[in-house]
């Protein structure tokens, strides 16, 4: 390498000495070098999202995702604790640690799994958070590159009895792990208290801007929404936050499936044949046992249609195999399996939405205590309880890949502003919201589906925080959740932060959202009514004295009596219309209260709640027609305004 670069330097000098144009050289030498995977990824860290500001965010993300995957694969309720602390302010050094109760990594495999790029147990056709075997390695490589600290790993694998301790670094030029230290931790000194688990401590050199810090908070709280079955502990220099487990129900783990024949290409076919290289089997058998939705009958049909004769599978030429691939591309197959996908599911997402955690920073507390080093916890979590949640989902096939769209909506209650949450394979997406398909869906589905007009939204829900937004939906106290799961999410960019619309995805996302809008419409209309009534009562309170003043100033009249009676009439006037709906509201609150206490029972309740919403929907229809009458009256009375305009 070094010689090479010197040579190039010489070339350049020669150029500048003689002023010979480059292309006149007869033999411009191009050297072909092989680059180690590790070197490639360190040089192109942006491919994995490890860029400048985002390094710490990405590192935390990768660690948590690995831990969650490691738990879910064996249906273990995750217990993860993450910490990020600045250990050297002068050199921007941060120590990250992450411990879980997952299946751990076999002691033999630990060094490779931590350090060697593109080594992963996840190269199979099923939905997982991580896919490429890059994230953890990136942390190791960056740590090696920027610091002199080793990566410390404790692993207690599900298939081993002992806890192993490693100190590792990555040899970036060869993509090989360097084992500095390896030992079996004596039982008494075990770091991992569970039967199995994994802990990693790494030092990274990075800067943490306030924006990135907030993104880390967002990432963790959003992760807790889609993984309410996990226990998450996050610790940083500001304190410790605990996201408690809210349900014991876990989504079914994704199963590994065979590829779908419509997705076949030459490479997958050759691989399939290679798997059977030692056995003398027909190509039909290989096809039917290597691809899903492909019976032996169907395989015969394929071979017949591709017209390549009948011989031993390994004797076919590449051009024959291409014919097979082409036939498969045109042939009709059953829709692919969705077993390899693991959606969040209605119960779990509802639990997440019903108990959404938000992080609260107590800046004042720090000032009061005067000494931030004191064990004062400056952050805390608060649980948001919406008045109503709803869920809908669709399974669709996009480019032969099954995709599940899940959509949830949480309205009212403690929620006081609009927010769009985006998840892909249970990972929160935090950046590039503007270019995400979910954003488009939200702005394209009209809020009139909720039985509310833009004007009403503006009049009744606008407050100081959100009044700047010109999108009516963003004025509502509404949280919208979109979760897309697929083995291949159509990300817009390598950073994996926003999703492009592929095929009919957008259309079905709109269906889901419209359905949910309709479900919450009754509640929203009711809230509007109450808000309107409250406003009216307040207005009466403010304006009646003025009216009474004007009257009593002009004629002789009993002031107090007039005022009292007027207020009474006004209250009756407002109440007359709100009594029936108010009872329903109280009812709903009771359900919410119950669900707060008994999470497991709540699941049953949520269905009854849905029924109730349906009934209320009818009611809202009635209300709606009433409103029309009202509007008609309004038109009649407009004339005064007409007059005024002249």
């Amino acid at each position: 390498m070094k010689i090479n670069s010197k040579l190039e330097l010489k070339y350049q000098k020669k150029d500048s000495d003689t002023h010979t144009p480059h292309h006149l050289h007869k033999n411009p030498k191009i050297k072909y070098n092989k680059k180690a995977e590790s070197e490639f990824f360190v040089d192109n860290s942006a491919l994995a999202g490890f860029t400048g500001e985002r390094i710490l965010y990405m590192a935390i993300r990768e660690l948590i995702e690995n831990s969650l995957d490691s738990c879910e694969v064996h249906h273990i309720l995750p217990k993860i604790s993450v910490s990020i602390k600045q250990t050297d302010i002068e050199n921007d050094l941060w120590t990250l640690s992450c411990q879980d109760n997952g299946i751990g990594i076999n002691s033999e495999k630990v060094p490779v799994a931590v350090c060697s790029f593109l080594t992963s147990g996840k190269y199979v056709e099923k939905q997982q958070r991580g896919l490429f075997g890059v994230g953890l390695k990136m942390i190791a490589a960056f740590s090696t590159k920027d610091t002199d600290k080793p990566i410390k790993v404790w692993s207690k694998s599900i298939d081993e009895d002992s806890e192993y301790y490693y100190e590792l670094r990555t040899d970036i030029t060869t993509n090989k792990p360097i084992v500095l230290n390896k030992k079996i931790v004596p039982k008494m000194e075990n770091i991992i208290k569970d039967k199995h688990g994994f802990k990693i401590v790494a030092t990274l050199r990075a800067r943490l801007s306030p924006i990135t810090k907030n993104k880390i908070y967002d990432y963790i709280s959003q992760t807790s929404i889609v993984n309410p079955y996990s226990n998450l502990i996050f610790e940083n220099d500001d304190g410790k936050i605990i996201f408690e487990r809210r349900t014991d129900i876990m989504p079914d783990p994704a199963k590994e499936v065979l590829p779908h024949p419509a997705d076949m290409d030459l490479q997958t076919l050759k691989k399939a044949i290679l798997n059977f290289s030692n056995q003398k089997v027909s190509i039909q058998t290989i096809l039917s046992s290597s691809f899903q939705k492909l019976s032996i009958e169907k395989a015969r049909e394929i071979i017949r249609a591709s017209d390549i004769g009948n011989k031993l599978a390994n004797l076919f030429s590449e051009s024959d195999l291409i014919k097979v691939v082409n036939v498969c591309k045109l042939m009709k197959f059953q829709s692919p399996h969705i077993d390899h996908l693991s959606p969040i599911g209605e119960k779990i997402l509802t639990t997440g939405m019903m108990s959404e955690y938000v992080i609260i920073h107590n800046k004042d507390q720090q000032l009061k205590s005067g000494n931030p080093r004191e064990e004062a916890n400056n952050e805390n979590v608060r649980v948001l309880k919406p008045a109503l949640t709803s869920y809908s989902s669709r399974s669709i096939v996009i480019n032969n890949r099954p995709t599940i769209i899940e959509c949830g909506i949480a309205y009212g209650g403690d929620i006081n502003s609009f927010k769009l949450y985006r998840f892909a394979n249970k990972i929160p997406l935090l950046y590039d919201e503007g270019s995400d398909v979910a954003r488009e869906v939200v702005s394209e589905v009209g809020i009139n589906k909720m039985g509310i007009t833009k004007k009403e939204a503006k009049e009744q829900f606008a407050n100081d925080q959100n009044s700047k937004s010109d999108r009516a939906v963003e004025l509502l106290p509404l949280h919208i959740f979109f979760h897309i799961c697929s083995t291949k999410i159509p990300y817009k960019s390598a950073g994996k932060e926003s999703i492009a619309s592929e095929g009919e995805m957008k259309k079905y996302m709109k269906f889901c959202l419209s359905e949910l809008y309709r479900k919450v419409s009754a509640q929203i209309r009711r809230d509007l009514k109450i808000k309107d009534d409250e406003n009216r009562l307040k207005l009466y309170k403010y304006y009646i004295p003025l009216i009474v003043d004007a009257v009593s100033d002009s004629i002789k009249v009993d002031r107090t009596k007039l005022s009292e009676l007027f207020v009474e009439i006004a209250e009756k006037h407002v109440k007359k219309e709100i009594t029936p709906t108010q009872i329903i509201i109280n009812d709903n609150n009771q359900i919410n209260n119950k669900s707060k206490k008994m999470i497991t029972v709540k699941e049953n309740h949520s269905t009854t709640e849905n029924k109730k919403t349906k009934i209320n929907e009818n009611e809202s229809l009635k209300n709606f027609s009433k409103r029309k009458d009202f509007r008609r009256k309004k038109i009649e009375k407009l004339t005064i305004d007409d007059f005024n305009r002249r």
């Binding site: 304006y543 003025l546 100033d553 002009s554 007039l562 305004d641 002249r646």
Partner: protein, 368 residues
């Protein structure tokens, strides 16, 4: 108190009756107070063949503080009505801006404090509403706007007792027509005819030419859309002082509209037509046919807008323009698509309008 004029007492009584109605609704009827008033606007304005003017129909609307929007509006109307009662009671005079200031206040508690009026527009609207509720024009409340109508000629006015002679003889000035109608009285009129023109520029030209002295005429203008004071003055001169009134406006649908304001009234003030409209006034010009009869050169003609065309088509259907002559004029306009201002006669010389065109028109109409 005894000096208070009778009309003032009537006004105060009317406002008090309204207040009484409201307190009765609450105290006796135990219901939301409401006020029934006549609906105003094009859909409650009708052409009266008998009176030859626009009159108000039978439609009524109810104002009541029964919705979020109407609670503030209702109280604004009442606060304004009370303020007007006070103004009349104290025999004071105020502009609409003055009324806005007189009634300024805030509503709500410490947390939600709002201005009672968002802007003067709100208070102007409330004044109009009180006019409607009481059926009394604002000039009689002594709520006035800036005068813009002008008058010149052998007429003597008494404004609150001060004598104003509008015939100053110098040909150089005109008098503004006072807007505080209740204070104005016509003392004497020595003129033979009243001529109303659309704009003050034209009036000035005619006055300067000595038209007043030559034809013993009163010249008036509303400077565009005439205010109530101007219209009332025209009506009084025409009907009480039996002076013939002729009107000249620009030869375009807009000008014709203004001329008709004096003669048949307007939709927005149809409830007060009886006091504002002079149906016997004659609209003599400028006719569309005059553009061609008096050879207005092409450079002085203006091309029409689609709005003009729409207006003319609209006018063609109006019952008060069904006369053969008007239909002919409007058809001519729609065919030629040209309009013209009275000022265009200056192209024929500065004295042409006053010394040639107007006398000829007046003679044709038999006014002189």
């Amino acid at each position: 108190m005894s000096t208070k004029n009778k009309r003032h007492k009537e006004i105060i009584k009317k406002i008090q009756n309204i207040m009484k109605e409201i307190s009765n609704d609450v105290l006796i009827g135990k219901k939301m107070p409401s006020l029934e008033i006549s609906k105003v606007g094009y859909d409650n304005t009708f052409w009266s063949e008998k009176k030859k003017m626009l009159t108000l129909g039978e439609k009524k609307v109810i104002i009541s503080p029964n919705s979020t929007k109407k609670i503030p509006t209702f109280s604004q109307y009442l606060v304004m009505a009370n303020a007007i009662r006070k103004l009349v009671d104290e025999e004071m005079e105020s502009t609409i801006r003055g009324m806005y200031y007189a009634t300024l206040s805030t509503v709500g508690d410490e947390k939600n404090k709002e201005k009672f009026w968002r802007s003067q527009e709100d208070s102007d609207d409330a004044i109009k509403a009180v006019e409607l509720i009481t059926g009394i024009p604002r000039e009689e409340f002594s709520v006035t706007s800036k005068p813009k109508g002008m008058i010149s000629g052998p007429i003597t006015l008494s404004v609150g007792g001060d004598i104003i002679d509008c015939n100053l003889g110098s040909r150089a000035t005109s008098q503004l027509i006072p807007t505080n109608i209740s204070d104005v009285e016509i003392v004497d009129v020595k003129a033979d005819l009243v001529m109303v023109v659309e704009k003050d520029t034209v009036l000035n030209n005619i006055r300067k030419s000595g038209f007043i002295q030559k034809y013993n005429a009163i010249l008036m203008t509303g400077s565009g859309e005439p205010d109530r004071a101007t219209r009332m003055m025209v009506k009084t001169l025409n009907e009480e002082w039996k002076k013939p009134v002729v009107i000249f406006a620009d030869a375009d649908p807009w000008g014709l509209g203004i001329a008709l304001r004096y003669k048949i009234g307007s939709e927005s003030l149809s409830y007060d037509s009886d006091r504002l409209v002079a149906p016997n006034a004659k609209v003599l010009g400028m006719m569309f046919s005059d553009i061609y009869d008096y050879n207005i050169p092409e450079v002085a003609r203006l091309s029409v807008t689609t709005e003009d065309i729409n207006r003319a088509n609209d006018m063609k259907k109006k019952p008060w323009l069904q006369g053969k002559q008007w239909q002919r004029e409007l058809n001519l306009f729609l065919k030629k698509k040209e309009k013209c201002e009275l000022d265009a006669f200056f192209k024929h010389g500065f004295k042409y309008l006053a010394e040639q065109y107007l006398p000829k028109k007046l003679r044709e109409a038999g006014v002189i």
